[in-house]
Symmetry: C2
Subunit: 405 residues, 2 copies
């Protein structure tokens, strides 16, 4: 990063690595045995922003959080998360339960319920066991501490193979600040239990409006740049809290350092979600360049990334440029196939409207790896986008077909 | 059909069942051994219409056919089809080869090349064996006859399990006419070899402009209402030819009888394509009603039909209303989940924002069948759409992953 006004280095810990945050994790009784309650608290109300599922079927906590962020103008004292039950498709009872989770947390911490974000992840169509939460939340609040972020990352898991956390230190001319985070999600592998939740924290000082703009940028290149099967859940949420405790203030001029730090953590967590999907044997980066606009390039990249035929071909290490090109062609974005190129790794398979089939054996060998790069040039402009996905295995089908509601 | 101004009855044969059409089939040498060349001829130039792939990567014959239909104003004497090679992504040589196929057919039949439609299906990125066609087309033209439509239906196959043909007689107050057809396609199971081609014929008399409008309507409810995996190929084409030889003239007032006859044949062929897909164990009709607009209802139906999670759940006989509702919710069409209902068969699984999980065992039993109906009410209007798809099996992944280019 020579010549750059900031540098980034990995550090230990996760969501409670930045100054001003504590966390706790409990087994309160929603799941049969595992950790099922996580609490993340800021020492004082933190600047906050959230991004939520675009699905028109939104779970009760999502609607509550949107209302709370609007009411406080983006000031959050705590986030309470339960796993094992999504509190989605639960009607008026679900709305009341989400509100009670916020009230319980607010009472335990001595802050207004409006300063509490609520997240639930797990089975949908089932009501929360509120008795478990009425007992568990106050206990969790009493055990808040630094250094136990990993336990919180475990408590938010559903079908995840393991906890996902990451943290970095960003050094700028104005000083250092830390960014941490945790996430859960394993594609939509078992969608009744597989919301994507992401929690980012920083001890930089930043106003909520700028924080929100930065979060939207970061999400576009991390959590919103991954696609397992094109499905999105009722509960998907991403939050960022900024405590300001590092003493480093971020403004428009220095926002790039914060954006880069958050992106580093968010992309690491997002890639862990892709790699952790059941049945996943390969992670696939689909880069589309030469797009007339960024949305056009993104649409092509997403269509390729979600093509069953592309995903199964990659699983079988088949250098099938025809499937990649055909997926690009049906994305609804006009381009001239004679201007297009298709690369697998750095192996050129299609150019000037014609294949290079002599390169197929080389590409087949490359596709045996576990991280695959596909590149498509559209030849329509200068915009480029990268989207991350995974291969599609028979194991995926087995898991999703055998799961019973 | 009591009280209706027309009635429809199945009859034998396929594309050459209507008066005024003959067909031929040959093995000319593009494939190693099977039939690979089909010829469909009208005794005199027939009114014609065509619908082609929306993919921006279009094969050479598709571009040729579009130009020929425009040049003749929709008058076609013959359609020549080869299987085994798609003549797609073949550059200038491919363009020249498609033109030569039309010229060879025109010379053999004594008509302008512009009155010939050309179709190719098979491997992409490989040039046609023109020597085989230079010999085969004149021979095929000499063997044109009635009563051998089934052979033509076999000659257009690639990965299809079997030939697909159907024919009906439509009785109207003005007299009877016949509609026939053949098709090939097996989803995009092996997309380098799996174009969807459809050929409809009728001996009704109808002007090309009206015929085209009717074909668009028919395609919307048949070939364009099926979706295996959301992929569309470089070569997909659907044609209709009308010889007029029945003496029954179709105008705006009587167009419904023609539309119904063509739809009957087209839907039968389209369903055969769905059912014939490799790894398919169930055919699934997704009906969305209560849509604000037809495109909105269609978008929701297609999103449900293409959801991997819905398709794998159906494969495993899992009555997972949550996956269906979540897919509806991410289709980009606003609706109120509290107004929505989800049925599997006639079993109500979701209503008033809440599940009826007591019905799950009944629904699981229903899902063991091989034809499944899913119904989603949006509660936003009065428009409805049905889309047809199939389940997603581990077999699908195995076939598509093991295929090698």
């Amino acid at each position: 990063m020579a010549g750059s006004p900031y540098s980034i280095a990995a550090t230990g810990g996760g969501v409670a690595a930045p100054e001003g945050f504590t966390s706790a994790a409990r087994h309160c009784g929603i799941k049969a045995s595992a950790l099922d309650l996580a609490l993340l608290a800021a020492d004082a109300p933190a600047a906050a922003a959230g991004i939520f599922t675009q699905n028109f079927v939104k779970a009760a906590p999502v609607l509550l959080d949107q209302a709370h962020l609007a009411a406080t103008g983006g000031r959050v004292r705590a986030i309470v998360v339960n796993s094992g039950c999504a509190n989605a498709c639960t009607g008026d009872q679900g709305t009341a339960d989400a509100a009670e989770m916020a009230a319980l947390t607010g009472a335990a911490l001595g802050c207004p319920a409006e300063q509490v974000m609520v997240c639930s992840t797990g089975v949908i169509g089932v009501n929360l066991k509120m008795d478990a939460l009425r007992t568990g939340i106050p206990v969790a609040a009493k055990t808040l501490a630094r250094g136990q972020g990993l336990e919180a990352a475990k408590a938010i898991m559903t079908t995840d193979r393991g906890p996902k956390e990451h943290a970095v230190v960003v050094t700028t001319p104005a000083g250092r600040f830390t960014v941490g985070g945790m996430a859960k999600g394993a594609g939509m592998i078992e969608p009744n239990m597989a919301t994507m939740l992401g929690f980012l924290t920083t001890d930089a000082a930043v106003e909520p409006a700028l924080l929100r703009r930065v979060l939207v940028d970061v999400a576009r290149e991390s959590f919103n740049a991954i696609t397992i099967d094109g499905d999105t859940s009722t509960n998907d949420s991403l939050f960022v809290l900024a405590s300001g405790r590092s003493g480093v203030t971020i403004d428009e001029a220095s926002a790039e350092a914060l954006r880069a730090g958050l992106k580093e953590v968010a992309l690491e967590l997002a890639m862990a979600i892709v790699r952790g999907g059941e049945g996943v044997t390969k992670v696939v980066g689909v880069r589309v360049h030469g797009g007339a606009t960024e949305p056009a390039a993104r649409q092509v990249a997403r269509t390729i990334a979600n093509s069953l035929l592309v995903k199964t071909a990659i699983h079988g290490a088949d250098p099938n440029w025809g499937r990649i090109l055909a997926a690009a062609g049906r994305a609804g974005v006009p381009f001239n196939p004679r201007e297009a190129t298709v690369h697998v790794g750095d192996i050129l398979l299609f150019e000037n409207g014609l294949p290079h089939d002599d390169k197929a054996p080389l590409a087949a060998e490359y596709l045996k790896g576990d991280t695959i790069h596909i590149t498509v040039r559209l030849g329509s402009g200068t915009e480029e986008v990268t989207v991350w996905t995974c291969d599609l295995s028979a194991e995926y089908v087995r898991i999703n077909g055998e799961y019973r509601t």
